[in-house]
Symmetry: C2
């Protein structure tokens, strides 16, 4: 079953202790799609500027991605520069140049409106709401957000949350959304906001999948050299939803496995800059790491 | 197979956001033994002062603990006062009064010297070495230590590490011991110091069991109200070694399960002050949480 993703398409400038990269392919929609399209058809909606070279994304068409919803506008593509320290969790944003993304108003092509699964990547909650008004009720609405929107657009965010089935946040965002220190208490309050399922990402400590009645602990796939952590979260979401799309099921067992697919996919992203590693893997490579994670958690 | 533990027996004074407790039973040997003796016979070596009321430990004799190695000396029992903040990981030591523990020189009773498994709780590395000279070569030497000894007695600590089979440390200690930021890189270097197996405790994020060739991820058992985190680490070690002692095996599958028993046991400790909860549970209670953890990690 196909997946709709609405998010950013960007050129990143990256600096990490392992090197640097200019004009790197980036943006939540790109990371997400590169992972998800290994497993299921992905319909992508986004915007780029005059400077964007679409041929860089040719590899996506060999996977199962439809880029016809990525439109070109006059101006510059969204550009972001980040510098990471020794601790991959600490990064400094040097600049964020919105360019054509500043006026981004997602238009969902007719052919995308019946996508079974929708991923609202981390963009303005008002735009996320707008996307939901344009699509037929999907089987699952999955939402990402960040501290910036929690602080600046809480009311709009609450309205999206009411229509969200699965919320994916990191641990600090979960605590911020609920003003709770204990993750499990925080999760309990997140359900009150709308989502039936909450995925809490904990960086190197893995992820938690939570429903009102069940809990599932997923580790990361261990990577010794995290060359570039950019996009790990979006790749996680891509692996997660790619697996769900491939199974076209949303029961607890499928969701558990989907989280592991997310973790496995994300481990490839951080092994090299941008999508350099992720674009050169196959579904079988991800399957293999899923198997290894199974070995590392079974007792 | 029986387990020898050498560690502290203390009176704690505890303050947490959930209340306070004076003259609480504490000390690494007490937490360890309360957990381990649910599963295997435990031989305890320690020291207490004139003020210690042994009848408080009567419940341990109904389990499988032999306290004949806990000797009474003239003076006060080791006393410690700690205050915890909202974040259970942050605690302030108000005082540490060594009392009779200052001159502690472990003497291993003849009948304890053939214990199959030895747990060297977090005490002066010179004393830990001394213990090892007094026992017949056990099947497994398990070591705990802390930042204080890493900083002040590194040479002695290195000598204990050379004779250690399993090192149990928390993540910050692992990084401190190896001057490495990445946990997996740190673990690689820990093996060079002696241990064949490393267990890295990550607080609310669970624990890692590592050998040179294998990795195992264990979650915590989720507890919403951490009333008093004191002794969680020693209880973890107690559950871990108790299970190993009960199986009398040290293969990888046993070690994996032992880590889960450690996590399950520790979850009871933090649910109430001191050993109040831990002393009132049965092996079956721990088994049940082990089963629940299995459900929360299987996919």
């Amino acid at each position: 079953m196909s997946i709709l993703v609405v998010g950013s398409v960007a050129y990143d400038s990256l600096e990490t202790p392992y090197g640097s990269m200019e004009k790197a392919l980036g943006g939540s929609a790109v990371y997400f799609t590169t992972a998800a399209s290994l497993f299921a058809p992905v319909n992508v909606v986004g915007v780029v500027g005059d400077d964007y070279d679409f041929s860089d994304l040719d590899f996506l068409q060999e996977r199962k991605a439809d880029l016809s919803g990525v439109i070109r506008k006059k101006g510059d593509t969204f550009a972001w520069k980040g510098v990471y320290g020794e601790d991959p969790n600490e990064r400094e944003t040097i600049y964020t140049r919105l360019g054509v993304f500043a006026d981004f108003k997602p238009e969902i092509p007719e052919s995308f409106r019946k996508s079974g699964y929708v991923f609202l990547a981390n963009i303005d909650p008002d735009l996320q709401i707008d996307v939901l008004t344009q699509v037929d009720r999907p089987k699952l609405v999955v939402l990402d957000t960040m501290n910036f929107w929690i602080e600046s657009k809480r009311e709009s965010l609450n309205r999206v949350l009411e229509q969200t089935d699965v919320l994916i946040v990191n641990d600090s965002e979960a605590k911020q959304l609920t003003v709770e220190n204990n993750l499990f208490t925080a999760a309990g309050k997140l359900f009150d906001l709308g989502p039936k399922i909450v995925v809490i990402k904990k960086g190197e400590h893995g992820a938690l999948l939570l429903s009102k009645t069940d809990k599932f602990f997923a580790p990361i796939y261990p990577v010794e050299k995290v060359k570039d952590p950019t996009g790990a979260g979006d790749t996680f979401a891509g692996g997660f939803m790619g697996y769900i799309g491939s199974q076209d099921k949303t029961d607890w067992d499928t969701l558990k496995k989907a989280v592991i697919y997310g973790a496995a996919a994300a481990s490839f992203t951080v092994e090299d800059f941008s999508i350099l590693r992720l674009k050169n893997i196959t579904a079988e490579d991800v399957n293999q790491r899923v198997g290894e994670i199974k070995k590392m958690t079974e007792f």
